[in-house]
């Protein structure tokens, strides 16, 4: 039986060519031609203040945690329904995690629950734009402003997705918080295998971001001729990726419009054809609030209960279709259960048990998608 995988990395055709070029140009370590091209493209296209490619979204989040000065005892508010890296980046700096519940209508953080979680130790809010769907950034930025908190957008899934503010302005996700982190892992819309990026929007962090990125040295200043030698001036790590990774990414960015069109077309067909079936079975399709655009990162279903999800996953599997569930709530994980304050997070638990993701990638054929849809709606 022909198997339909959950994900298949899409190649535009130019990846190997650009990697070849990077290799034979002889500049293989980071911060070279392709790194600069990608960073400038992101700044110009989405209005990010300053971009720095990283080896992963995890690393970008770690840079953010260092930049906002997380110290042991500081508290960070984040959703429990997220990837471990959202949490680890802050735990590594000694933060105490304060987990917020998800919304009833979508897995994103329940914005209305945030304010009650703030204490004098709170330092940051980390909204995760789940499935590329915007959190209500006006609400979150307003809270942050009133309490003097930093906002780090976990935009791992949110490339080419926008937030339309109360004032009508349309801003790219990742351009609104003080800092934002993106992922180019092979499961994302735009990929480089492993890879990520930090977007710095609060420019007070721009110089230090570059230093931390360069292992705590002022090497970049040195090469711009701003200082006469470079040395160790701060903490830091080796956050920058090889040029071959940036070269790969560049081939993807050149084709982002085509990639996004195709994904949106697949996503829309799912929603259209599954609409009746989902209502009849009390299964929720992705909900987009008015202020959010759709980047077609993910097609998820929210089942009524765990049994229904298990049955669906098994039915798909029996037909050679690999659908998958997603996060296991972090507040009840082996690592954090004892450190969590005991609050129950009902919606988080529900998404952990009931959310299911369908295959959703550029190279999914019409026939394959038809098969997936038919297996679902025909219940055979």
């Amino acid at each position: 039986m022909h198997t339909i995988p959950f994900n298949k990395p899409h190649l535009t055709g130019k990846e190997a060519h650009y990697m070849y070029d990077a290799v034979y140009t002889g500049k293989l370590s980071g911060n070279g031609k392709y790194t600069h091209k990608c960073q400038q493209w992101f700044e110009n296209t989405f209005g990010f203040g300053k971009c720095l490619l990283t080896t992963s979204c995890t690393d970008a989040l770690e840079m953010a945690a260092i930049l906002i000065g997380i110290m042991p005892g500081d508290e960070v508010i984040l959703p429990s329904y997220t990837f471990v890296s959202t949490a680890n980046a802050f735990v590594l700096r000694g933060a105490k995690l304060v987990f917020a519940d998800s919304r009833k209508d979508r897995p994103g953080i329940d914005e209305a629950s945030i304010e009650a979680l703030i204490t004098p130790n709170t330092k940051a809010i980390v909204p995760v734009h789940y499935a590329g769907v915007a959190c209500d950034m006006d609400v979150i930025m307003d809270i942050a402003s009133r309490y003097g908190l930093f906002v780090v957008e976990d935009a791992a899934q949110a490339i080419d997705s926008y937030y339309i503010g109360k004032d009508g302005s349309k801003r790219a996700l990742g351009s609104i918080g003080h800092l934002a982190a993106f992922s180019f892992h092979e499961t994302k819309n735009i990929i480089s295998g492993e890879g990520g990026m930090l977007a710095v929007n609060d420019m007070q962090f721009a110089d230090r971001a570059e230093i931390i990125w360069e292992k705590g040295t002022n090497r970049s200043s040195f090469f711009r001729g701003e200082v006469d030698k470079y040395g160790w001036v701060d903490v830091g790590s080796s956050f920058l990726p090889s040029e071959v990774i940036a070269a790969f990414l560049w081939a993807q960015l050149e084709n982002i419009q085509e990639i996004q069109q195709r994904r949106i077309s697949i996503w829309s067909k799912y929603v259209e054809r599954l609409s009746g079936w989902s209502k009849a079975n009390n299964i929720a399709l992705p909900f987009l609030p008015e202020f959010a655009t759709n980047n077609a990162h993910m097609l998820y279903l929210v089942c009524t209960d765990l049994e229904q999800r298990t049955a669906l996953l098994n039915r798909l599997k029996d037909n050679g279709i690999l659908a998958v569930f997603h996060y296991i709530s972090l507040h009840s994980s082996p690592f954090y259960e004892q450190k969590h304050d005991g609050r129950e997070l009902h919606e988080t638990k529900r998404y952990s048990e009931c959310l299911l993701r369908l295959p959703m990638y550029y190279d999914l054929t019409e026939e394959e998608q038809d098969k997936i849809i038919n297996v679902l709606i025909n219940e055979k």
Copy 2:
């Protein structure tokens, strides 16, 4: 004028082919076929306990710092004459750095000075095998054993280099300490652009190393069928590199013998032809102790003073040859000067001011090397 660069990354010819293969196999994120091939090759070839590729040597050192449980207040003994990452990895976990001086006869840590630096807070010793030349590991492991300390070998420059112990055994550098970190940065003998590896020799760390590598999850156990679901069980980060990076590295490892032969031949010619001139000018050539083999990572000269070095660097530069100095001592860096305990480290200062590195890479031609040597010995 034809310029001779300080370094030129060497390509074996198969890098692009293997990267192509990785790309078109469709497995681009980490921990795939090429990652496994490289890791197994290292374990088999050098007798490391367990190997995990990382995105940089920095990341491997950070993994080591997490694994040995560095906590705020713990002290780590390391040379001051080293790259910032040796230090940053431990600073990021809250360690206090205790800087040791270098030896008189070579830039490696003065083994005889270590014991006096130990306090009840000391947790680890981090010897750096500068220029791929072994530190006296019997001495260091004996101290560590008597005081219950961990040894993390910074083997960034030390691939294919060995230590011959008092018992006559010949062991690869990186296989002796509890943990070791390697670099495949484009300036190293074996490269992948940016890249590194953690070698775990004390197998008590093996399982946790894999978890930390996989972002604090037991995902690897899950894929081996040891647990029925995976979740967040520990701190961690995204330390693993893309498969394209591992594919690049594999092409290099296949050719390590040829690469090493060529480098040793270049290195030996330098030493032979510069011998008389260096003695006459009171300039030291690399010193190899009896217990160390030579991996020809670096050809360094130690001048009499800063003036002599500056004059040599300028003379080479005027002839289109890019020679460079190396580390600026960490204990007197802007970042750590105030935190250092004030001890003067005379040898460290001397190497900071007097050490000079000559171009030393696979593709350096006979003619180029002759020119470099002639510019030095003819003093014109």
